[in-house]
Symmetry: C2
Subunit: 419 residues, 2 copies
Amino acid sequence: MTSPKLQTTVDVASMAERARSAGRSLARADRNALLLAMGRQLKAHQAEILAANAEDLASATGTVAAALLDRLMLNEKRLDAIITGLHQVAALPDPLGEVLEGRTLSNGLLLQKVRVPLGVIGVVYESRPNVTVDVAALCLKAGSAVLLRGSATALHSNRALIQAIRVALAEQGLDPDCVQLVDDPDRASVTALLGLRGKLDLIIPRGGSGLINHVVENSLVPVVETGIGNCHVYLDDSADPQMASDIVFNAKVQRPSVCNAAEKLLIHQAIAPALLPSICTRLAQAKVEIRGCERTRALYPTAKPAATSDWDMEYLDLIIGVRVVDSLEDAIGHINRHGSQHSEAIVTQNYAHAEKFLAEVDAAAVYVNASTRFTDGFEFGLGAEVGISTQKLHARGPMGLRDLTTTKYLVRGSGQIRQ
Amino acid sequence: MTSPKLQTTVDVASMAERARSAGRSLARADRNALLLAMGRQLKAHQAEILAANAEDLASATGTVAAALLDRLMLNEKRLDAIITGLHQVAALPDPLGEVLEGRTLSNGLLLQKVRVPLGVIGVVYESRPNVTVDVAALCLKAGSAVLLRGSATALHSNRALIQAIRVALAEQGLDPDCVQLVDDPDRASVTALLGLRGKLDLIIPRGGSGLINHVVENSLVPVVETGIGNCHVYLDDSADPQMASDIVFNAKVQRPSVCNAAEKLLIHQAIAPALLPSICTRLAQAKVEIRGCERTRALYPTAKPAATSDWDMEYLDLIIGVRVVDSLEDAIGHINRHGSQHSEAIVTQNYAHAEKFLAEVDAAAVYVNASTRFTDGFEFGLGAEVGISTQKLHARGPMGLRDLTTTKYLVRGSGQIRQ
């Protein structure tokens, strides 16, 4: 068998056309066998993949931060973890073919709404090479072809990973063009993808707010926005003190760099004197910088003053904005004004307050007495996720395999015509 | 009670902010009582509405086609039909609060995915004033506020209709800003709406392809495209001749101006000699212009030659493109290449061919042995529809009340933190 050629052209329109044609056979193929074959080929290509990654690391060293270098780095252990991820996706239920609705109309037509592949998905993402394999696996399992546009930093790694995936596609009798790398690190290639109305069915940007805004502002293709999280924990006047402290600490400190970490703490004025100083002290001991409103600083004078802009910021760091609020209504109003509609939590013992918060806070996930850190496809039982949608259309919250599909109506008749 | 002022500013950003604030109480309001109150107020304001409509008709006479004038015209009977429509929407099941999924996670968190309002919807549409009331009713029933941007031709009618709706909102103790008219006939007001990222949750364009393309190409707000239909009927080699003729005739002639009417006829070569001449003759007798491929013209010489561009066109008129195809595969390939993914039909007695067509044709609705004309919210049992989506994200096919909602995850805990 000759190895399929790696796609290097940047004629994204014809890439998308080839992807559509290649992807038509996916819905009827054994997609789980394909994922396992991808795992075997990644292992078989391990030497090339790690060599390519070493090249990326060598170019990046000295030009990017240490944390970013670590995210870029692959080794045997990490490649094995990626392969384990493929096995996990293979074990998930097949999203395709599910009958979502069905009824017989009064004229005898049998109507069914069934889940089918989207077609061709574009994913634009930053640095981490594991995303290349994770996203390809989810798209293929959902029956769609995918165009992957990774970052310049990971270009050699992505070439090697996608080459292995394409070998696996060929081995399974499928067209390698089901997975193609947009092999051009220039932003022009992103812009070209965004113009492919009618040729791409969905664009998913995964990365910082700069990338996401660029995609939303320039795309003619439908977009699902992922990931900005300015999440709040609100401590109601009836909050259990120990639970309140534990949830705030967990939501802020357990992994501050992710989108479901808390960025803001709101405390009811009635319990602020009793709770705020001890919680802030506990956070400060974990090296969290406290930025407080005036009432916060009156109770915890070492807090820095919060600027107006703080209330809208996603820090992704050991920083928290703290504000004393007058009431539950004040807290809900603040969250609906400043939140990013990602994950919001109340800590309360009051039933009516819990239900009001659940009903009135406008976000993908609203919690009572739990950490915001649970907003995640694995935690929610969806299996792997392709991102966390903060928009309201198509998918909201963790996007699993089902959110990478669409539906169609099948209508079976016996000669019905409309009167 | 003083009548609420009609919204006349074109500061669309602050209109959207007022709409969001006004709409927050809708989910908990008696929205069915509101729809009935709207009906009463439309009747109470009948004189003003018909006078305003007469003004629009006077301005339009002589400048637009007679068919368009007819679509613009309101009279007592048509207003009563609009009011009956409100009663029908009131009778539909409430889409809000439905629990779509629910489970208890292994850590004890109770997770529920529930249906909630979108928030603020923008609708940009052309001429027919009944759309103003229909769309407002569907958005309100789905718990969302709405900004309506109708056409210049219907401006006075829309002002009067929306004034009556706002009186009904006030009468029910709701904020009239739940329904606002973007009272500026200039296209700049459409462009301003399209820029309201974060302030509008959805834009729906209803109208011709010029309007829809303008919206898709310029919107930063998520869009659901509606309505372009280049629909096909394919007659398989095993088609029942009478059923084939009846379905083609119905799909083309029963109402040629709508998006689910057939625009193209594909006939298997094996039955073309027996079927094509009689079907074309029957269509021609109903004043349908036949544009055929070469093989069609060999069998039916009075057909005009079809141009290459014909295969991609939506005529919305008594015109049909006819092509003889070699096989089922040829028909599916033609449809997937040239169709607009709206409604596609096969007429066949062959089980395997029926199933292959259903599986492989990529469209919102795929039919076996029935007219494409059934793709419609009422016919499909969804109740009233806000349009027919031809995109794959969020809604595909007839968009009912559910498609005007989003979901959120409610998570009830007892102090859970993430390890």
